[in-house]
Amino acid sequence: MLPDDTGAEGQTVIVEWFNIWHQWIFENIVQPMLYRMEWMSFDELAYDWTHLFLLGALEVVLLWALIRPLELWLPVERWESRKATRVDVLYTLLARLGVLPIFFFIVLTPAFDWVNAQIRMAGIIPPSFDNLLLYVVLLDFVDYWRHRFEHRFNIWWALHAVHHSQRQMTFWSDEREHLLGQLIAAALRAAVGLAVGAPPATFVTVTLATAAIESFSHANVKLSFGRIGDRLLVSPLYHRVHHAIGIGHTGRTMGCNFASVFPVWDVVFGTANFTHAYLPTGIDDQLTGRDYGEGFWRQQWLAFRRMAG
């Protein structure tokens, strides 16, 4: 990723500007807080977290600025009220501004540290795997199977149904997911990261890139990437079919179009559906009145009730 002789000249103005902001916010807001809370041991972690927070915030703003006009220009659905979409904004901010990631990190760290210690004491060191594209492909492959199982097993579907219960799907809907489901997804991704030993910068780049694609694929936009394009990258049309009532969560494999970034997994494993129709989104039993909750806490709670059967 880095050329051999990077120096001041190698950095673009934007990166330099961003780094100055990162430093300023860390030194003037985050570090003084750590110092007061007696958490100086976490200063390196907090420095990285501040970086993620700023990148995430920047990405959310950029996605909004780019995708929102498209949603206004080429909408699939027009709604009287956008009230139902608001909770998705909350999910997005929690996830993309690093609130959930830091929480997951704290929850997962003891387990991962333990595994890491065992592996390293046994002398096994993961390779330094710094191929961005291969890493994206690998993570996407794991995501595909996780997503497929989320539909396949009822207990897991109980959680993932939160994601599918949105009938006013917008680019904010990508992060609408049960917290426990997100924790499991985060653990799987972290495990892949640990196993292949991706450098932190690679991990961040991949996360940001796939997040952008996944946000876009949920947008309320009448758009496909064309016959070939739809087979290369998950488009709004392609993912809408996954969310379509009566299609996305039915059949022998419990649905279709599970891929997050590359539709190739659906093609290879026989779950692709290239129907060219912009269909209403939601879950079948919502039509007969099943309640999945409108607010954040009720959605979380009802999922546990469904899990309990």
């Binding site: 780094n19 110092y35 041991s41 390196e44 390293r120 060191i125 330094s128 910068a201």
Partner: protein, 320 residues
């Protein structure tokens, strides 16, 4: 009009002449980027940056001054570099989580503090075979030896303690509660006291290690972190991470005698051979900053990689 360029020119010339005698290199570890930067100290430019391994934090010269050892904490290895060129010469595997490393003064022991795995490991310094793994509670970070090489002292960052290990019996002999999140540790030249940077507070803890008790606190600045000696056998510099300053401490009187600006979260430091300049890694700024100890100005900042930590000047002041 000419004053500014002249000033730059003269300081550049001074820097250049200072470094002329020996190879003009600074080696910097970019801990969060898994890379090593080589800086030409004459032109003050980064000439090379290459992948070195996971989480390189600290580096030091071998006792014969032939090699530099980079401790890659998360790759479980030591990387031996040619000390004068920065080229990778050898990699020693199966060194578990080396965070801070060090040879005992008599070169009989090589000790590695394992911050993440909560252990201190003692190695044979010739073969790098592990002799003993000593579990310690939470985050052993930095280490220092007694002058007679009988003891090694370790700061425990998360339990706010100092641990003393007897190198012969390879057992923890005693522990002492000290300030919050202790980090860098240094033995005074008279062998009497240990100086410890208290990262979670704003002072250096002075420990009378023979009496096993706290001797005094030297107030320096928020986030007191790590030390480097000036080279006169009398003074030591301390970086104050959260205060963005460097304190100069007299190791005889145990008092702060001077203080300098150090922007961007100063961490490790090294002093030029002429003892005029202090090079430091500015953690949060992704830069190496050069401090003129006479004018107390930062004369130059050199962009490096993410979270630069360890720094080594090939041509440096005496380690005393």
């Amino acid at each position: 009009m000419l004053v500014e360029p002249m000033r730059y020119l003269s300081s550049a010339l001074l820097l250049a002449s200072a470094a002329m005698a020996a190879p003009n290199l600074a080696i910097v570890l970019n801990s969060a980027e898994e890379t090593l930067s080589v800086i030409d100290t004459a032109t003050m430019k980064e000439t090379k940056r290459f992948p070195i391994g996971k989480e390189p934090h600290h580096l030091m010269a071998t006792p014969d001054d032939k090699f530099l050892i980079v401790a890659n904490a998360a790759s479980n290895e030591l990387v031996f570099l040619d000390r004068t060129t920065g080229e990778v010469k050898n990699r020693v595997k199966n060194i578990s989580d080396p965070y801070q490393i060090g040879y005992s003064p008599d070169k009989k022991w090589f000790v590695s503090a394992s911050l993440r795995l909560d252990r201190v490991d003692i190695y044979n310094p010739e073969t790098f075979q592990v002799l003993k793994r000593i579990p310690l509670p939470k985050a052993p970070s930095h280490l220092a030896y007694s002058p007679d090489s009988k003891m090694v002292f370790i700061t425990l960052q998360d339990t706010n303690e100092l641990a003393a290990i007897d190198l012969e019996t390879q057992k923890v002999t005693w522990k002492l509660g000290i300030g919050k999140q202790p980090a860098g540790i240094l033995m005074t030249p008279d062998g009497k006291y240990l100086l410890i940077g208290i990262l979670g507070d704003k002072y250096v803890e002075v420990v009378d290690w023979k009496a096993r008790k706290l001797h005094k606190k030297i107030y320096t600045g928020k986030g007191a972190h790590n030390f480097v000696r000036l080279g006169d056998g009398k003074h030591v510099f301390l970086s104050n991470r959260a205060e963005n300053t460097i304190s100069k401490i007299n190791m005889e009187t145990l008092t702060v005698v001077d203080s300098y600006p150090a922007p961007g979260g100063p961490d490790c430091m090294d002093v030029t051979a002429d003892q005029r300049y202090l090079w430091m890694t500015s953690r949060w700024a992704r830069k190496v900053s050069i401090l003129d100890l006479q004018t107390k100005q930062i004369v130059k900042q050199i962009p490096v990689g993410r979270s630069p930590h360890g720094i080594y000047l090939v041509s440096h002041a005496p380690r005393k």
